[in-house]
Amino acid sequence: MTTYYSEDHEWITVEGDTATVGITAHAAEQLGDIVFIEQKEEGDEFESGDEIGVIESVKAASEIYAPVDGEIIESNELLESNPAALNDNPEADAWIYKIKLTDPAQLEGLMNLAGYKTFIA
């Protein structure tokens, strides 16, 4: 299992041709208190860079951008009732989507943890 990071502050953990996507702790901290998330539905297809949801904090609305091409397999239902979980545990329980990867080669364009840490430093 390998985790990659995007410049839009998402993490993506890959197992075979499926993956889990969420926002990084750094992103959650920048957003502040999160009060709502609008998620795509199972079966929705998207390309890298597409808007695949919106996170609303007390401050503002922020789009979630797809880090790769794929299809939504599952949206995390926990976040509908408890969006604040995105502040508490964004890199574990508060994952946003399970997705099917269209083109795993795209992962090569993302950062590893060390690269992301440098990116946000």
């Binding site: 009060v35 709502f36 609008e38 609303e56 007390v58 401050k59 609305a61 969006p83």
Partner: protein, 365 residues
Amino acid sequence: MSRTPKRTPLYDLHCALGGKMVDFAGWEMPVQYPMGIMGEHTHCRTKAALFDVSHMGQVLLHGPDAALKLEALVPAALTQLPEGKARYTFFTNSEGGIMDDLIVANAGDHLFVVVNASMRAQDIPHMAASLDGIDVTEIFDCALIAVQGPSAAAVVSAHCPQAAEMGFMETLEAPIDGTICRLSRLGYTGEDGYEISIPEADADRIARLMLEHPDCEPAGLGARDSLRLEAGLCLYGNDITPTTSPIEAGLTWAIQKRRRTDGGFPGAARILAELADGPARKLVGIKPQGRAPARAGVEVHDMVGNALGKITSGGFGPSVAGPVAMGYVSSEHAAAGTKIQLIIRGKPQPAEVCALPFVTQNYKR
């Protein structure tokens, strides 16, 4: 505008407290501290919060008949304002719109006026040009802090016993830790509290003194906005503008009886006509039925898709524990309980017109 934002006398304190600084109306101000907007908001509603509002314009009006002369610019009855009392009002334009809202206090031998940060550059020349024979003096060497919340009286009176005895909208000068300050028992959060004008050299020390109280925590602009929205208080530039009248905005209460009869302020023709006949649109509270916040600019439709108006302020209300908003709708849709739709990211979301404020105001009575 690429100028360097100005700093208030409390800038170093904000940094020491971990404030996240942003440029607001040309000032470098804390939007939040490590506690976060939600926590700061709740702290203000349950205990006490200290806000730096030094970016607002503090102005002294000296000269004969200052109150009478200022009445030519605002629809409040100021000649009847007793010494030691303050009143909320607004500058109106010739079309009956609002140019800014402000607080006017009768300080005895002068009037003490506080205007919005973003409108200092308009309001002060406006007063200087219009108030014949009055010295209009902008104060640049005083900070302004707001201590707000149910514990505010305890926090402030610990260092200024006179504060405990003040009534709502009363103002006086009194020493705090040896420094003469002007205290006014008012604010813009819906809670009891004070705004305190402090000489800049003493502001950092006095603010830290207030923060030593176990009930008092610093709060930033983010909490200030969610607090005033829940309290149903208008934000200039959003809810009230040069094209919205005070009657449309639900500010009729701030136009005292004599001014409603006699007029004599800019835009009186429109304002008094709307008072008599009712306005075509009204500012109302709006409660989205779902969880998605509806922010400024969101379109308001009736249940069959006709446009009614727009949200002017909206977000998440921490004390309401859900989204809250204000906006203008045509008067026939302004009754509390009216079902409406909000067009959020292209999709209609159900909402309801509701009475303001969203939370009970807890002013000192």
